[in-house]
């Protein structure tokens, strides 16, 4: 057993901190458009790759899986929207690769541009098993019609991976967002992750090259693999936002006075902060253990991934709520980080495996 990070891993975290501090200065107010956001995703992809950020959880020595998760957390703390954009655009999309042949992968010509997965539909089963996409075969193309929801990075992704069924088989269609017949409808006025580009997409007789189609034998396993990494992204995002909330609130409680003493000297405030720290440390240990289990192919790796997902994302909501109470009225300003975390935490509870479904899955294992 070992509950600490190696010296190399700690150095890596320091390097990441330095890079992000520089990036913070460079980026001041630069995320004004979708295009800016897309450029930043590509930029961070390059920057972070050099640190081993995108290493495979299962094959990552000398950087352990828990350390990769910690790097994700540091990034999420820096910028939650960019973090999710990068995770969905690269790491999560990359989970599809293991079901592709080498030549298929080459035909995708993956570069530094992010990609997007479009699996979610309005009336789809929560296990994503029954997509309602219609497919028509025409010469060298399939014509695709249907709708997908809540697609992250949809507007500027290099590829959209859309799931459907063809000839009774689970199928993934890869198409460019510029494809004729494809309409991208960005979600406006969303209350979550302000800069993150989230869109619904509609496609009517949208042509997809027949060679750009994947029919994985084990679609369930593939979806499950994607969800595991969506969950890890949610977990890291929760931890990063928790760090931010506690830092901001502790600093506030130490510097703001009430009844002639710092707020932290009041027991109600101090004890509330103690609860948040307890939740934070418990959440991070569970998260590290889940990452470690995944890297060692532990028999309970999926179970622990879901336990950590539920615990961490719900802890983020609880902590944000407690921090809001301490910070008082000033939090109710649009886009205040704590207020934003409260909204964001609901999203990450739903993304990947929703906490409802995760509980059902956990219970099924326990009740076996």
């Amino acid at each position: 057993m070992n509950f600490t990070f190696s010296d190399n891993e700690k150095l890596l975290f320091q390097s990441m901190g330095s890079i992000l501090a520089q990036e913070n200065q460079r980026m001041q107010g630069s995320l004004n458009s979708q295009k800016d956001f897309a450029c930043e995703l590509a930029h961070f992809k390059q920057k972070l790759s050099t640190l081993g950020y995108f290493n495979d959880f299962k094959d990552s020595p000398p950087i352990g899986a828990a350390a990769i998760l910690e790097m994700m957390r540091i990034f999420a703390k820096f910028h939650p929207s960019l973090f999710l954009g990068v995770e969905y655009g690269f790491r999560i999309f990359a989970q599809l690769y293991q079901w592709m042949t080498e030549s298929f992968m080459q035909s995708l010509e993956i570069d530094t541009m992010p990609c997007a997965i479009a699996f979610c539909e309005d009336f789809i089963e929560t296990d994503l098993k029954t997509p309602s996409i219609s497919v028509q075969s025409v010469d060298t193309h399939y014509l695709l019609s249907g709708e997908k929801q809540f697609v992250i990075n949809a507007g500027f992704s290099k590829w959209l991976a859309i799931n459907g069924q063809m000839d009774g088989k689970d199928t993934i269609f890869f198409l460019s967002p510029q494809t004729e017949g494809l309409e991208i409808l960005p979600l406006k006025n969303k209350r979550i992750f302000p800069e993150l580009v989230l869109a619904n997409i509609q496609f009517r007789n949208c042509p997809v090259l027949k060679k750009m189609v994947l029919q994985p034998e084990q679609m369930t396993a593939m979806i499950s693999q994607i969800q595991v990494f969506e969950n890890f992204a949610s977990i890291a995002c929760a931890l990063g936002m928790i760090d931010q909330c506690i830092e901001i609130t502790t600093a506030f409680a130490k510097t703001h006075f009430s009844e002639n003493k710092p707020m932290i000297a009041h027991q109600a405030v101090a004890f509330s902060l103690a609860e948040t720290v307890t939740l934070k440390q418990t959440a991070e240990l569970l998260a590290y253990r889940a990452a470690w289990m995944f890297s060692t192919d532990h028999s309970e790796k999926f179970l622990m991934n879901q336990c950590a997902k539920v615990f961490c994302t719900e802890a983020a909501e609880t902590i944000a709520s407690q921090c809001m109470t301490i910070l008082g009225g000033q939090v109710f300003v649009e886009n205040h980080m704590i207020e934003q975390t409260l909204h964001n935490s609901k999203f990450i509870q739903i993304a990947g495996t929703s906490t409802h479904l995760a509980r059902m899955t956990i219970a099924d294992v326990v009740l076996k």
């Binding site: 057993m1 720290v277 307890t278 539920v310």
Partner: protein, 380 residues
């Protein structure tokens, strides 16, 4: 990071569960209902090596590391051993014997450890007083030097193993003018003149453990019975607290595993509306929350054990976090375990009400949840 426990530790855990199911569990209900301590089971624990697992072999101990010791405690809970017996074990092995081992003289160790480790003697620790609970430094019990003796006067309360202990490790003020620095530690043996224990207290839970007051009325004890240095008692007590927040929490973690297993078995057999209640999402939710709590709590307790094994000095923050989380956050899942059993959960024979009652001590004993919050908030 590496969260693996060794194969030997896994096998050992299974063995402890097997031992406990055979030697202890069948006797619990009988003793619990009568509020009786199970001397036979305790002696068996000594024979099996559990009472002195982490002590050196030279004193009859097992020479195990802290993590293995924690795993043994977890295994007892997982087997279904009641909180009363594991509490008695904790007070005996960690709060009493371990302090003697860490701070006593060789004479103390040779005299007291072998009979404590074998279970021939039972030990307790006397710290809390009627008017000095969380505020240890306000204790009133005094130990005033008089030639070759200290004279103890005062009383202690809520002392686990108090009525049955052969020796008590007692904290008293050698310098009443001082606060923390005035506290010293002594071994007081049963039968010493002026030392007596009160009748067992009637408690909500932990009923097989015997809890009482201790009284010191001009109790003269030899100066040799001073443990460690004068005025260092508070520090010793705080070091002991680490055990309180690891080894004593471990059976609670095991108890949650036990509850999950019991609930799972029950929910699959119990039919309502033509289907097992395990098929209802409300039951599933409860089961999932129990499991999530268990895994979260387990990591915290193992971390303290690992820190201790690394020789890290007094891990106040980690220990307080584990104690607070398990103390406060365990109440709901344990409540759920009882609810899954419905009316049967409220009855003694199903074990859930005992677990529920025993668990109520978690946010109180060994430092209340409020004290943990105080410690944590000071360290952030």
């Amino acid at each position: 990071m590496d969260f693996e426990i060794s194969k030997t530790q896994r096998m050992f855990k299974k063995e402890v569960i097997r031992f406990a199911k055979k030697e202890i569990v069948p006797r619990i209900q009988e003793h619990e209902i009568k509020n009786e301590f199970d001397f036979h089971a305790f002696k068996k624990m000594g024979e099996y090596g559990l009472l002195g697992l982490h002590f050196p072999e030279t004193f009859g101990g097992g020479g195990a590391d802290v993590l293995t010791t924690i795993i043994a405690g977890e295994a007892l809970g997982e087997a279904g051993v009641d909180g009363g017996l594991t509490l008695a074990y904790g007070a005996h092995s960690f709060l009493c014997a371990d302090t003697i081992f860490c701070h006593g003289t060789d004479t103390h160790r040779q005299k007291y450890l072998p009979p404590l480790i074998s279970g021939e003697w039972i030990g307790c620790m006397g710290l809390t007083e009627p008017d000095a609970g969380s505020d240890v430094a306000s204790m009133k019990t005094t130990a005033i030097r008089d030639g070759d003796h200290y004279v103890l006067n005062g009383s202690k309360i809520f002392i686990t193993n108090g009525p049955i202990a052969d020796i008590a490790l007692v904290y008293a003020k050698t310098n009443p003018e001082k606060q923390h620095e005035g506290i010293s530690t002594f071994v007081v043996e049963k039968g010493m003149k002026g030392f007596s224990a009160g009748a067992p207290l009637k408690k909500l839970g932990m009923r097989t453990s015997q809890t009482s007051e201790l009284f010191f009325n001009n109790c003269r004890i030899p100066v040799d019975n001073l443990v460690g240095q004068e005025g260092m008692g508070f520090l010793y007590a705080m070091q002991t607290v680490e055990w309180d927040r690891s080894a004593l929490l471990a059976p609670m973690i095991g108890g949650m595993s036990y509850a999950i297993k019991q609930c799972s078995d029950y929910a699959k057999k119990r039919y309502q509306f033509q289907r097992p209640i395990s098929h209802f999402q409300s039951t599933k939710y409860k089961m999932a929350d129990m499991k999530i709590f268990l895994e979260a709590a387990r990591s915290l307790v193992y971390r303290i054990a690992w820190c201790k094994d690394q020789g890290q000095a007094v891990n106040h923050l980690e220990a307080a976090i584990a104690k607070l989380f398990i103390g406060d956050w365990s109440l709901n899942p344990i409540n759920d375990a009882m609810l899954v059993h419905g009316g049967y959960g409220y009855c003694h024979e199903y074990g859930m009400e005992m677990l529920f009652r025993d668990n109520r001590l978690a946010p109180i004993g060994g430092g209340t949840s409020d004290i943990q919050k105080k410690i944590i908030s000071k360290l952030i």
